[in-house]
C-alpha cells in the first residue's frame, strides 16, 4: 500500500510539473489561448461536456464502433487464421494475397468505404474491421504454427478427434499469440475509429474534435483528445485483465 502510494506519487511528478508550467505560460499570456489553451480551461471544458452528456454520448458512439468493427474483423480473422495455420495448402493459397493487402492502411480504404457503404456507421465499422482483421489473423496463424508438437502427440495418444483437437488443444495452445494479436487489433481499431469519425458520421470523439476545430475551440479539441487517451487506457486495462484471466495457466516469464 505504502509502496503503491509512493510509486503513484513519483509517477505524478512529471505530469504535474508540466501542467503547472503550461498553466503559468497560458496565464502570463505567452501563448494565445487558441494555440494552446490553459489546462484549467481544458478541464473546465471537459467537465462541461461531461455534465451536458455530450461527452458520454460521443464516447459511447465511438466505443460502439470500435467494438462492432473489432468483433466483425476478429470473427473473420480467427477461423481463417486457425485454418491457415493448420493447413499448409490453405496457407499457400491465401498468404500471397494477404501479404499484398496487409500493408494497405485501413485509411486508404476511406473512398471505397464511402462508395460501398454510404455514410453513417457502416463505412466506419468496415474500416475498423479491416484494421482489426490483420493483426488477429497474423497472430492466429503464428499461434497455430507454434503449437508444441508434444501436445498434439499427447492428444492423438488419448484418441482425440479432429474437432476436439482444434477446439480443445490447438485453440487454447495458441491463445497467448491470439490475445497478443487481439490487443494490437484493438489498438488499431482505436486509431481507425477516430479517423473514420472525421469523415462520415456526426457524433463520436473524432467527429467532436473536428467540429471543435472549425470553431477554433482549442480547449475542446484537447478535452476530446484526453478523453480518447482515457478510453484507450480503460480498454487496454480491461484487455490486460482479460489476458491475465485467460492466461492464468501460462508460465509467462518463468518459461
Amino acid at each position: 500500500m505504502q509502496k503503491q502510494l509512493t510509486s503513484f506519487l513519483r509517477g505524478a511528478i512529471v505530469p504535474v510539473v508540466i501542467l503547472l508550467v503550461w498553466e503559468a505560460c497560458a496565464r502570463a499570456g505567452l501563448v494565445s489561448p487558441i494555440v494552446l489553451p490553459a489546462p484549467s480551461a481544458v478541464a473546465a471544458k471537459w467537465w462541461e461536456a461531461l455534465l451536458s452528456g455530450e461527452l458520454v454520448h460521443d464516447s459511447i458512439a465511438s466505443l460502439y464502433r470500435v467494438v462492432v468493427g473489432f468483433v466483425v474483423g476478429a470473427a473473420l480473422a480467427l477461423p481463417m487464421g486457425l485454418l491457415m495455420g493448420s493447413s499448409q495448402r490453405l496457407y499457400g493459397l491465401f498468404n500471397p494475397l494477404l501479404q499484398l493487402l496487409r500493408p494497405i492502411p485501413p485509411i486508404a480504404y476511406i473512398p471505397l468505404a464511402i462508395l460501398w457503404f454510404g455514410l453513417g456507421n457502416p463505412p466506419s465499422v468496415f474500416l475498423i474491421a479491416i484494421g482489426a482483421f490483420f493483426p488477429v489473423l497474423m497472430n492466429t496463424i503464428a499461434g497455430v504454427r507454434h503449437v508444441d508438437g508434444i501436445y498434439l502427440r499427447a492428444a492423438h495418444n488419448l484418441g482425440v478427434g479432429q474437432l476436439a483437437l482444434f477446439t480443445r488443444v490447438i485453440l487454447p495452445a495458441a491463445t497467448p499469440y491470439i490475445l497478443a494479436g487481439v490487443r494490437i487489433g484493438i489498438g488499431t481499431a482505436f486509431i481507425v475509429v477516430i479517423v473514420s469519425e472525421m469523415i462520415a458520421v456526426n457524433d463520436g470523439l473524432g467527429y467532436r474534435i473536428l467540429e471543435a476545430r472549425e470553431f477554433m475551440w482549442s480547449d475542446k479539441i484537447i478535452a476530446g483528445m484526453i478523453t480518447i487517451g482515457l478510453l484507450g487506457l480503460v480498454l487496454d486495462s480491461a484487455m490486460n485483465a482479460l489476458n491475465n484471466h485467460l492466461l492464468r495457466w501460462h508460465r509467462g516469464l518463468e518459461h
Binding site: I150, H156, N157, G159, A164, R168, T175, W249, H250
Partner: protein, 265 residues
C-alpha cells in the same frame, strides 16, 4: 496363462536425412506378454525411443510388423497410453481436467468421469492439487498427473519414455515405487524406456539391452530378483554390473561415432 500381447516382428526403421540414411532399428523381434514390465535399456541413439514410438503408433516402422492383441499398429490410440519425459500435460487444463480430457472426448458420461477422476486423484495423492494448473506443480507431481491421465483411459498397455529422467533422485525412487504399486494393482503391461541401469534393474521383469546404431536387441534379460528389490544387496549389484558392461560397450561405440562425426565436420 500368460498371453502374448505385443509382437514386434522384423522391425526396421530408417531415417532419411539429406546426407545419409540412418538405420535406427534393425531386425527387432520382441514378444511381450500381458502384464509384463519390460525396460528398453541403452545409450542415446540406440533406438529405444524409436521403438517405443513405433509401438505407440507415432512413427511407424519402415518395414516389419507390430501387432498388439493380434492387430497391426497403424496409429496412436488410447489402448497404448503414453507417458512422456516432458510430461506433455495440457498447461491450460487443471490437474482434474487433464485427467478427464481423454474420457470427455471419448464421450463418457459426466458422472462416470467425475467418479473415475476422483478415484485416480486419490490413488495418486493428487487430491489436494486437483484444481491447480501444471505450472504450479513440481516435476514429480506433473508426472503423477500424466500417469493418472493414462490410467483414466484404462489402457491395458503403458508406454513410458524416460518418464523419470528429469526428476531428482529421491523423487525418482518415490515414483518408481509408486509405479510398481500401480503396475501390481492395475495389471498393466509396461514398456519403459530408460538409460539408467539402476532404474531398469529396480523396475523390470525383463530388460532388453539395445545396441547403438543400428538399434538391435543385444540381450533380452529376464530378471529373477524378487520384489521389493533391495538396491544394496549383492544380487542386485551383480545384475547392475552385468548390465553395465553391456551398456558401456554400446556407450563406447556411441562416443566413438560422435568423435568420428565431429572429425568429419
Amino acid at each position: 496363462m500368460q498371453q502374448q500381447q505385443i509382437v514386434v516382428g522384423d522391425v526396421q526403421k530408417v531415417f532419411r536425412t539429406q546426407e545419409r540414411d540412418v538405420v535406427a532399428l534393425k531386425d527387432i523381434n520382441l514378444t511381450i506378454n500381458q502384464g509384463e514390465f519390460v525396460c528398453l535399456l541403452g545409450p542415446s541413439g540406440c533406438g529405444k525411443s524409436t521403438l517405443l514410438n513405433a509401438i505407440a503408433g507415432f512413427s511407424l516402422p519402415s518395414s516389419g510388423s507390430i501387432l498388439v492383441d493380434g492387430r497391426p499398429v497403424s496409429a496412436p490410440g488410447p489402448e497404448r497410453g503414453m507417458v512422456f519425459q516432458e510430461y506433455a500435460l495440457f498447461p491450460w487444463m487443471t490437474v482434474a481436467q487433464n485427467v478427464a480430457f481423454g474420457l470427455e472426448v471419448k464421450g463418457m458420461a459426466k458422472a462416470d468421469i467425475a467418479a473415475r477422476v476422483d478415484n485416480l486423484l486419490d490413488k495418486l495423492h493428487l487430491k489436494d492439487f486437483r484444481n491447480r494448473f501444471p505450472k504450479d506443480l513440481s516435476g514429480g507431481m506433473r508426472q503423477r498427473v500424466a500417469i493418472a491421465r493414462v490410467l483414466a483411459m484404462d489402457s491395458p498397455i503403458m508406454l513410458m519414455d524416460e518418464p523419470f529422467g528429469a526428476l531428482d533422485a529421491l523423487t525418482r525412487r518415490n515414483l518408481q515405487d509408486e509405479l510398481l504399486r500401480i503396475w501390481a494393482e492395475f495389471g498393466k503391461t509396461i514398456i519403459f524406456v530408460t538409460h539408467s541401469i539402476e532404474e531398469s534393474s529396480y523396475l523390470a521383469d525383463r530388460i532388453v539391452v539395445m545396441t547403438y546404431r543400428p538399434g538391435t536387441v543385444k540381450r533380452d534379460h529376464h530378471v529373477t530378483l524378487p520384489r521389493p528389490r533391495d538396491p544394496s544387496c549383492t544380487e542386485f549389484n551383480e545384475l547392475k554390473r552385468e548390465l553395465g558392461q553391456l551398456v558401456m560397450e554400446e556407450q563406447q561405440r556411441h562416443a566413438a561415432a560422435e568423435m568420428r562425426l565431429a572429425a568429419v565436420d
